[in-house]
Amino acid sequence: MDLPHHGYRATAKPRARAAPPTADSVLFDDTSSGGAPAMNSQAYYTPGYNMAAPTNDMQGGVGVNNLFTDPMANAAMMYGSSLANQGKDMVNKEISRFMSMNKLKYFFAVDTRYVLKKLMILMFPYTHQDWEVRYHRDTPLPPRQDVNAPDLYIPTMAFITYILLAGMALGIQKRFSPEVLGLCASTALVWVIIEVLVMLLSLYLLTVHSDLSTFDLIAYSGYKYVGMIFTMLCGLLFGSDGYYVALAWSSCALMFFIVRSLKMKILTSLSSDSMGTASSAKPHLRLYITVATALFQPIIIYWLTSHLIRRAFHHLHHTVRTTQTEPLSTHMIRVPRVRYGDIFCIISPSLVNPGFYLSTFDKA
């Protein structure tokens, strides 16, 4: 029973080592084909197995009982590891049927410098000169090397931060419960899905052969969460005036950003009829799509944040007094002012978390 599994392990390991260096040399510097392949590529196995695997590998598959004096436990360990390998391959195959992991990896190949520049552009896009996405032999450059490339890292982190902020805003109004948090998350997610589906439908109907894939559209839809976070923070910190000012600012910035980014991709893309008989309706319709997408952003920002913020204004900056008909105001309900330390404590995990995540990429 040991022999087939030895053979499987022996073939599985070189295969796993050979695959990564050929694929993503532009995206990642692959650190997994070095000392401990089990650490990176099989990080979701139990730590016990994690420690056992390299030593088993390095001994060349001869039954080593360094860790286990019981050969049965050793055999069971190797059998389990081969089963887990098979399961992992099967899951990978199934997933890669729906979405290609390489394409997804492209969107997460970011570094700190890119994230900072992109956030600056999202909040203040008026001074950015060059909006063209750069290519490298027909494939678009990953976000590390091109600040105009869309990425999925910022939208994902901004979405999670938005959910945290929503929970905090609800907690200030004393109407927090875990179900409301899930409801808020799924509402925001549904709006993103609806917007992406409408964009896909309109791009298909107008036969716009742009190179906007589904993930690109998800990325551009997700950038509005940065504006939402900024708006909600200003609303919580500075009250109703701050909320509307921040809403106006982030709406204008986002509209400008979306129009300039999508203009390159939609309006100048080759249609199937690129000769002179292009009907005059087509450029207008493409412009309508771009402008409609841009106009949708402030609406959805307002829709998804106002119900969270509106009641918080009273709780933050006023105290609720009892009515005049009760002269004996023995119980004057006083809602405490928000402590800015609270806001910092809630936000800082989501800021620290990306820092750890990015630092693992930076050391490559």
């Binding site: 409301v180 409801l183 799924s186 509402t187 549904v190 107008l206 119900h307």
Partner: protein
């Protein structure tokens, strides 16, 4: 508890999607679509020409009907059973 009036859940999105796909699937080819000029035979327009919106829509309706016919049977049966059991 009170749910915000436009709070979507993923379940409601799935419900809306199933209803929309069902609505597209029940459009009969010869009884209805040909009568209003959306039939299959009317979509093979000019070849060198870029297909317009109407042709694209007709192609979309036809392909949805062809592709989703069998999965819709399964999905609708599951929905019926679940709604009968759980209300």
């Amino acid at each position: 508890r009170r749910i915000h009036n436009m709070a979507f859940t993923l379940y409601s999105l799935i419900q809306a999607a199933i209803l929309c796909v069902n609505a597209v699937a029940v459009l009969h080819e010869e009884r209805f679509l040909s009568k209003i000029g959306w039939g299959v035979d009317q979509s093979v327009g000019g070849f060198g020409d870029e297909p317009g919106i109407k042709v694209q829509l007709m192609t979309l309706v036809r392909s949805v009907r062809t592709v989703m016919r069998v999965p819709l049977i399964a999905v609708n049966s599951v929905c019926i059973v679940l709604l009968l059991l759980f209300g």
